[in-house]
Symmetry: C2
Subunit: 410 residues, 2 copies
């Protein structure tokens, strides 16, 4: 498995401040990896409001089902995440494992099992031995501290080449609140409600239903707008926890104007983390932003953008630094959405390569080649049939993706 | 561009017999390739019945539009196919090019422009200079002969590594008729009504409407059941011509019991050619047959099979000879069709790897590894929710695919 750090990795990792009401611990529980932390416990000292969105896979992992079942309660006291094993497609053993894990975590933290949320990432189909976790939770709950965000981001990594962290602040009635987030994901990334795994914590005081609405509002343009390889995971999980540890007064409705700045900061944080996931796309050498305008609807624009972003021919052309707009035409055509060939226009960066259904008469190949050499490439397609717009982020498809996914036996 | 012949290529090419009523000529017209034939003219001495299915792309090539417009007439006197340039997304120039080509071919053959059918394959977006063809058609029509099927299959190749030919015979009222077919395609293959290009000729006498019905009936389980890279072409064209040159009496209805053997032979020929296209999939090292049973409907089974066949994670695992059934579970889950995780069963070859929503307790990794080493791999998935069934053919995803599509500028 390739272990070099992605060339698109950030130069430095965000330093996340402490958030009142949450403590973190990580350990190496020996689930699959040697000498690497693979278990993370987040403890909320008082019940935190919780919201979450999960994979739309028809074969979701056992932890995803556990989270869905507990989400109705709206309160969290503990989050347990392990890497190395997804506890997906593990049948009854998988369910037993989530029950045992939640029981042990609840006992260690001193809460109900319904206040424990679980997530697992790694190999599909291997039974997850929960008895490995149970003995360590007591110790972890005791030593958990407020400054272990980087450790948390590392503990949930699988084929990720770097930890993903981001932080934002916002004011509610003039009082500052903080939002911290971590994420993991590199392959099997085409989130359809959420990414592989991402967890956001804020010290704002926000009711669960309001938090859920804000989360849903922003997920479409952030995590659901990224794709590495079109393969939607069995384990996608995105959760937000609000500890209420700040001095800011409570928010009870998503539409409350007092929550506007918070909601914007949440969207911004989610976008930051989602882009970090794409930048760590397996084998990625280029970050690609695809904007589709002039579609019949926003939904149609999204489908066309995703068709371009998931096309192996488009992705390999980008890897080869080839401004191959014919493949963009192909991907627009196969998307099945309304498009009129003779109104289509395509740009690579600021270079218009095609217009009115044929090559731009002023097309300058040297300028397009210059654009293709960049680390970050913007592709814009105008369909010319309506006002629908969408943006999707992806990466290129290189030999390293094949190496990572084809040259080893998982 | 890789030029090695696919390891999955047939050991010998089918020898196609002459078919009464059709003559073929090929030349090197210098469209894009050096020292290679790139133009093929098929002449039908008397009007042949014609049927065709074409790409569902919203950005079809100019020749696809030309064929669609002429299909209503039901009669063909000439087929002109060039490789090296797809005449797709070429705007008004593209339409002018098809008109000029059809006029020149009609003049050479002595027929109406509505009896000429065109197909082009190659680069998208480059204007196709029809004036290169016009001067050569006269000569080609004169020298066309009955024995040039292999030349025809070679002339229409682009990234193909071998020519694709097949032949069948059938009896109508006890009289033998022949069906010959050629195809091309290697990348941008996820046909959605037809493959890149395939042409079938028979000496049976079949009315156009009946021929069209038979073609449509068989295309779903043959050409539309193969995928190399999920990228549907702008140029997919599959046509059948019936010259009536045999002694067999005419067929005027697809449902005529006298046509049963012919229809079966047609389906068989189409399947043969479609599999040859997958065997030449860009970078392919393994042919993969994916069968989905127990789905809610045949349509649902097809979507699940296609989700598996198009998953880069499944395809790279097969390239790595990894019996990674977790990725099959992922692909089933993301397809969006009804599936119950705990009823799912998966086989590689005859080795059941998963059943009842978890790893098969009798799973033998060594036996599965043995299966994965083969050139041809059968994957079966039973969803356990209904009686719908579908079969799809694909190939693996290797570094050679990336080399072919990313390491050159087209």
């Amino acid at each position: 498995m390739a272990t070099d750090i992605s060339p698109l990795a950030p130069k430095t990792y965000a330093e996340l401040p402490a958030i009142k009401g949450v403590r973190i611990e990580t350990v190496a529980a020996g689930i699959k990896y040697r000498d690497r932390t693979d278990l993370m416990l987040m403890v909320f000292d008082r019940p935190a409001s919780v919201a979450g969105v999960f994979t739309t896979s028809k074969c979701p992992s056992a932890p995803v089902e556990q989270c869905r079942a507990n989400l109705g309660g709206g309160k969290a006291r503990a989050l347990v995440v392990n890497s190395g094993n997804a506890n997906a497609f593990t049948g009854k053993k998988g369910r037993v494992s989530t029950v045992l894990t939640a029981q042990a975590a609840a006992a260690a933290v001193g809460c109900g099992e319904g206040e424990v949320f679980l997530a697992s990432t790694g190999v599909i189909g291997e039974p997850l031995e929960a008895d490995k976790f149970a003995p360590v939770f007591d110790r972890m709950a005791g030593s958990a501290s407020k400054d272990k965000w980087l450790d948390a981001a590392r503990a949930i990594m699988t084929t990720d080449t770097y930890p993903k962290l981001a932080t934002r602040t916002a004011r509610i009635d003039g009082v500052a609140v903080t939002l911290n987030g971590i994420a993991k994901g590199s392959g099997m990334i085409a989130p359809d409600m959420a990414t592989m795994l991402s967890f956001i914590v804020t010290d704002a005081d926000i009711e669960p239903a309001a938090l859920q609405l804000m989360l849903k509002r922003h997920v479409g343009s952030t995590f659901n707008a990224v794709t590495v390889d079109s393969d939607t995971s069995t384990s996608d999980t995105l959760m937000v926890f609000a500890t209420g540890g700040s001095e800011a007064r409570p928010i009870s409705a998503a539409g409350d104007p007092r929550a506007r700045e918070f909601s914007k900061a949440l969207a911004d944080l989610m976008q930051d983390l989602a882009i970090q996931v794409v930048r760590d796309g397996e084998g990625a050498s280029k970050l690609v932003e695809i904007t589709v305008t002039g579609a019949a609807s926003a939904r149609a624009a999204g489908r066309v953008a995703r068709s371009i972003a998931n096309s192996p021919l488009v992705k390999t052309a980008i890897a080869g630094e080839d401004a191959n707009w014919g493949r963009i035409v192909m991907a627009v055509g196969k998307a099945g959405e309304k498009a009129e060939r003779d109104r289509l226009a395509i740009w690579f960066g600021d270079v218009r390569v095609a217009a009115d259904g044929e090559r731009d008469p002023d097309y300058d190949e040297a300028r397009a080649a210059e654009v293709m050499k960049r680390d970050e490439i913007a592709i814009r397609v105008d369909l010319g049939v309506g006002r629908g717009k969408a943006r999707v982020y992806t990466c290129d498809l290189t030999k390293a993706y094949i190496e990572i996914n084809g040259d080893y036996r998982s």
